[in-house]
């Protein structure tokens, strides 16, 4: 199935390993962003709506309904629980927020996805898996 084709996910160990990869001259992921992403991933893995929004800003909390979150989990919980690796790409600034970019590779799949995480003042403004 194509969903399996694209993602399976994460563990902190592989996160740190992938950050240490010499494949690019990118700087390591800032600890704050890394921690936020890790918590989001754990929340999806655990299908915990409250945990997912724990660090979200007001707008994200307003935008993301429980039903929408369940939709996200329907797509990502299973692949995330199968194992994955993260590779930090870098940081952009857009509209006053920091946008952190990672590549995520599924265990057993040749295809990869891009994760963008919007952060400001320690709060998550949004996240995209593409």
């Amino acid at each position: 199935m194509k969903q399996r084709n694209f993602l399976s996910l994460f563990s902190l160990l592989t996160l740190f390993l992938s950050l240490a990869s010499p494949a690019r001259a990118a700087e390591p992921a800032p600890a704050e962003a890394e921690k936020l992403l890790g918590k989001l991933i754990e929340a999806v893995k655990a299908e915990s709506y409250d945990a997912f929004l724990a660090d979200a800003d007001a707008n994200m909390k307003k935008q993301l309904s429980r039903q929408q979150f369940e939709g996200l989990c329907g797509l990502y919980t299973k692949p995330l629980n199968k194992g994955y690796t993260l590779d930090y790409f870098g940081r952009l600034k857009q509209r006053g927020m920091a946008v952190y970019v990672w590549k995520v590779a599924a265990a057993g799949s040749p295809d990869e996805a891009l994760i963008r995480l919007w952060v400001k003042d320690g709060k998550v403004g949004g996240v995209i898996v593409q």
Binding site: M1, K2, Q3, R4, N5, F6, L7, P22, A23, R24, A25, A26, A56, D57, A58, N59, M60, Q63, L64, S65, Q67, Q68, F69, E70, G71, L72, G74, L75, Y76, D87, F89, G90, L92, K93, Q94, R95, G96, M97, V99, V101, K103, A105, G108, P110, D111, E112, A113, L114, R116, W118, K120, G125, G126, V127, I128, V129, Q130
Partner: protein
């Protein structure tokens, strides 16, 4: 959709059907040129949830169209297609039409392959010594192509075709879901085909003819299930497909910044407060940051070459040089990028680019049919950074996306 400045172009190549489908996305000023932006503005996850709610029904419907083991893939393809379409008209009837079209596509593709292989294997002629040598060389190429496949494809193909295990047996042996094994076999074979096509300069008939004697007649690739559609329905679907094909060729379509991969976008809308000014100190001329070479990618440019290409395309935009912009593009890319569209795109971007920029490579992302090379652009105008995506189909440019920030609703011009 009306063309406005701030366009991006993306070409998607459908290797399964062997056809190239060119798509161009027109992006309004300041809007993120991707489906993501559209989704962001319209409640993406709500749409996603609504679509997922149809998944059970869709799988049942798919089972009525194709064999059971293909039904999940068909349902998934239908959902993926739905996610790429505007939100209007995604009811059951619409999804059913999409599923039928995809089923017909699948059926025709399989039929063509069967015919080709049957023709190649039944000619009844005796091979000359030269042909035997050539065939032996092709067999060696096949072995090499399989041997150089990345895991887990190599292991799966070896178990499936060299040891003769079924997908279910492999699944049990490896402790993986059967669907995963079937996908690996399919993907592995596609990779081998691509490799052989490349070695034989796209002359597929040449290597198919050499290999077909090896195929046991009774083991014809996996029996084809009947397509459970009425002939009238097939004709109607064919007509619709034909019309869609024409429309696709003539009309500028909304496109995605990536292939229709199994990846489904999910997003929550970020907040965009007022712009914080923290300008990078940039040289007036463009500067690039070199990066190390990543490994494990399909044939194509490395980081350095991809970065040089990205710079070349940015210079073409800056200089409003259409010919230079499409010079290294795949045929579908060249066909999709019109001079008018490019003129509007470059008119918008050239000012920011010409004031100075710094291009930093971020890295490659492997997609099912190409590799996306990603770069960050910092501009000297103190503005927002941009994310550049350069999809490469081998050594050819398959698209070019400059991803600018998404405006908040209140930032839109009245």
């Amino acid at each position: 959709m009306q063309a406005t400045p701030g366009e991006m172009f993306l070409i998607k190549k459908s290797t399964q059907s062997g056809q190239q489908i060119a798509k161009k996305k027109i992006v309004a000023n300041g809007f993120l040129p991707s489906d993501v932006s559209r989704n962001m503005k319209t409640g993406p996850t709500a749409e996603l949830a609504a679509l997922l709610a149809q998944a059970g029904w869709l799988r049942r419907f798919a089972r009525a169209l194709v064999r059971d083991e293909d039904a999940a893939d068909l349902a998934q393809d239908t959902l993926t297609t739905a996610l790429r379409q505007p939100s209007a008209g995604r009811g059951r009837a619409w999804l059913a039409t999409v599923a039928r079209n995809l089923a017909v596509d699948r059926f025709r593709r399989d039929e063509r392959r069967d015919r080709r292989e049957a023709v190649a294997s039944d000619d009844g002629q005796v091979a000359t010594p030269e042909e035997l040598i050539a065939n032996a060389q092709i067999h060696r190429h096949v072995a090499e192509a399989v041997a150089t496949l990345p895991e887990p494809f190599r292991q799966t193909l070896v178990l499936r075709f060299y040891q003769g295990l079924t997908a279910a047996e492999i699944a049990r042996k490896l402790g993986e879901p059967e669907g995963t094994i079937r996908w690996r076999v399919k993907e592995g074979l596609q990779r081998v085909r691509r490799e052989l096509d490349a070695r034989h300069h796209q002359a597929r008939a040449e290597w198919v003819a050499a290999l077909s004697p090896l195929l046991p007649k009774s083991d014809a690739p996996i029996p084809r299930p009947p397509l459970r559609l009425f002939p009238a329905a097939i004709s109607f679907v064919g007509l619709v497909l034909g019309l869609l094909g024409i429309v696709t060729c003539l009309v500028v379509l909304r496109a995605r910044p990536h292939t229709p991969s199994p990846m489904v976008e999910a997003t929550t809308e970020p907040a965009y407060p007022a712009r914080a000014v923290s300008p990078p100190r940039l040289a007036p001329a463009s500067a690039t940051v070199p990066a190390e070479e990543p490994s494990g990618l399909p044939p194509g440019p490395g980081m350095g070459d991809a970065q040089a290409l990205a710079e070349e395309l940015l210079r073409a935009v800056e200089n409003q040089d259409y010919d230079a912009f499409v010079a290294k593009g795949a045929a579908a890319f060249r066909a999709a990028v019109t001079t008018e569209g490019f003129a509007q795109f470059s008119a918008k971007m050239r000012e920011r680019l010409s004031h100075g920029r710094r291009v930093t490579p971020l890295g490659p992302v492997r997609r099912p049919e190409h590799v996306d090379w990603l770069f960050k652009i910092e501009f000297a105008d103190d503005g927002d950074d941009a994310l550049v995506t350069l999809p490469m189909d081998g050594w050819q440019v398959a698209g070019f996306l400059i991803n600018e920030p998404i405006p908040m609703p209140e930032e839109k011009s009245p």
